[in-house]
Symmetry: C2
């Protein structure tokens, strides 16, 4: 504890999630780089901290028995979107919810288990780190792709979220997206 730096605190992910709890209105733009295609989505996102002993948390931990780390601030994220596409192919993306369980390995790094991934609808494990300026960086290896997300607070009530989807070898960049999220309620 002697080498603690000035800006760091005991458990940054806990604070980040506490700050994220609430209902948000999200404006999201995604860019398909190869096709120069834009997509715009307005959605509402609800982030709710749930108890460590919640049944869904226990179930997700049970599915990841190879990881022996203590969960902190598990939360549920649910969203409801209205896309600019007239027909949404993948209706599972327009609304849904996911359980997320942070498992810190150090003050600013760790893993996050998700009951449903962001780009592929399967269970996923992300690694995270929090930069000195407070940006949360998430990296998730899916079967067909790698997603890198950055989430940062612009003010207490506005946060930004960018995501980059790469091919699974990490070379090609398939898609990027950016969301501006404005708090509706705590």
């Amino acid at each position: 504890m002697i080498r603690k730096t000035r800006k760091s605190t005991s458990m940054k992910i806990e604070q980040f999630i506490a700050q994220s709890a609430g209902k948000w209105r999200s404006m999201r733009s995604s860019h398909s780089l190869a096709f120069q295609h834009f997509e715009e989505i307005i959605s509402t996102i609800q982030i709710t901290i749930i108890p460590n002993k919640d049944e869904q948390v226990l179930e997700l931990l049970k599915a990841n028995l190879d990881i022996n780390l203590d969960p902190i601030s598990p939360f549920k994220m649910s969203w409801e979107a209205s896309s600019d596409w007239e027909e949404v192919d993948d209706s599972s993306m327009s609304s849904g919810s996911s359980i997320l369980i942070p498992l810190p390995t150090s003050e600013d790094k760790g893993l996050i288990l998700r009951s449903m991934g962001y780009t592929e609808s399967t269970k996923a494990r992300s690694s995270y780190q929090i930069l000195l300026d407070g940006t949360l960086i998430l990296s998730t290896q899916y079967e067909q792709s790698i997603a890198e997300e950055r989430i940062w607070f612009v003010s207490t009530n506005v946060r930004c979220r960018s995501s980059i989807v790469k091919t699974s070898n990490g070379i090609g960049v398939l898609q990027t997206s950016f969301a501006s999220e404005v708090r509706l309620t705590n």
Copy 2:
């Protein structure tokens, strides 16, 4: 030099600009938060490193005689945009160019002088810092607003750029934007 950290190098901004030089195709989305309005812009951006003794560089330095710092890798940025707006109110934004002069104060921090600002068409001074993960953060105080930009490389040929425009008191967030930039030529 004894306290140099592992990841840092002699002058990070120089490397960042060298990596940015070239012609880029940009897909940019901007979000007006109050009106939930999206705007999409496709443009080409050319970034060219110019000599310290270039006439436009000397002129911009002369206009900032109160700053006594050595310039490094001054560059010219020019852009040509095609907006989705049928009538572009501010035609100066759809194409133009700007001279930028980095003036490092330390390995990873400094000022950047611009001959034309991003959100307001006047000369501007930005402060910059480069985070350990390589992200360049620019902060510019204009008369009516504060702009905060982040630029980071996703791969050698893809970079992302986000910007947040706040009210000049730093409280209200007026607009955000996000650009995905793909290299066309070096």
